[in-house]
Subunit: 196 residues, 2 copies
DNA sequence: GTACCATATGTCAGAACTGACATAAAGGAT
DNA sequence: ATCCTTTATGTCAGTTCTGACATATGGTAC
């Protein structure tokens, strides 16, 4: 079983979905911490079905093409339950923005500051979006969020990780940009004046 | 040019290194935000040389096998400078631990809490290691850290991102574990007593 | 009428990466 | 002697993922 397989099972444990629906979910909420294109999802569904983790039934529709709706089996649910408590195999972090920071000392300082300000915005916007979702969940799902055996608690938990992550990323970008500009507006005042 | 190519150039812009040295660096400091095995590094070095970004010279050694020491070229340095200020193409986040949290509502609560406590420790230890490095850098490199055109500033900047990341991860793991155990020691007191 | 869009399901070539296999020199341990 | 470890460089098969190609239905916009 691949991790993508468990991502799909995680969605199907909440509701029955078609391959197309799964693709949409992967762009939306679940896509915040796992993502996949339909070109990965359809073959994976076939493998899951072959392994007995899911089954499908064809649903005929009038106003749009027919679809295959997948549901999780008892075996699929059991596999998911067991996988969820196994410590993940530590996978190496790969963050291209941090890699760029590693070479920022060679770069044009003005362009570098602009780039990090831009990334700060990107992460800030994602954070704002998450905070909206959080407010909505806390208002709408109130009691469920205290129950770790509710799927809503689980969804909320993943959102909280997203919030911490984006906050950390945005603050770090701001610190990098400030550090670069702090230096420029200090010792390098003359060069800056000459340029503008 | 691949991202791995820029990771290698980032290291070679600081000092000349052999393929073996690069592999070691990828396990250590640089490995905190980008990593690669030697099976990726040797072919990539060949491609970089073919593209004119690096050159190598063979260094003969007595007490160990001969080695190829690579150095960055002017073209390589220029490519790196330009790449460093281009906003990264947003790549989807994939965090298996968060994916597990998404299905934690189905899991055995006791095992789940244990798993998240374990992950909290792992991140906590990595954080402690980073904090040690940070103290060392701040003591040893003091003045350089205020100069964004120093490679030491760049190294320090990446370390700071690592610290924020691990802190966020560890705190989130603790929150998840607390949430699960908070519930168990409350409403489910009886079940717990029966089990132990 | 035709061009585009959302829904719906699939395949395939190529890139990036992992883990195993392969070779070799020199030193240290048993 | 034999084995293990470190240094050193390489290949290769298989997995995961991306981006493009491919096809089909039915509604809406021009």
């Amino acid at each position: 079983m691949t991790t993508l397989g468990y991502a799909i099972l995680g969605l199907l444990s909440r509701e029955d979905l078609s391959g197309y629906d799964l693709t949409q979910r992967m762009k939306g909420r679940v896509g915040y911490f796992w993502s996949a294109r339909h070109s990965q999802i359809y073959p994976e569904l076939a493998r899951l079905e072959e392994g007995g983790y899911v089954t499908h039934s064809v649903v005929e529709q009038q106003e749009r093409p027919d679809k295959k709706v997948y549901g999780i089996t008892a075996e699929g649910l059991e596999a998911l339950r067991e996988w969820a408590v196994q410590p993940p195999v530590p996978k190496p972090t790969r963050d291209e923005l941090v890699l760029k920071a590693y070479s920022v000392w060679l770069a044009d300082q003005e362009e570098a500051a602009r780039m990090f300000r831009g990334e700060e915005s990107r992460h800030g916007e994602q954070l704002a979006h998450y905070e909206e979702l959080r407010a909505w969940m806390e208002g709408e799902w109130g009691e469920d969020l205290a129950n770790p055996e509710s799927h809503r608690f689980a969804t909320y938990a993943t959102l909280r990780r997203g919030i911490t992550y984006e906050m950390g990323a945005a603050e770090w970008c701001r610190w990098v940009a400030d550090s670069i500009e702090g230096e420029r507006s200090g010792e390098k005042e003359k060069q800056r004046g000459a340029r503008s």
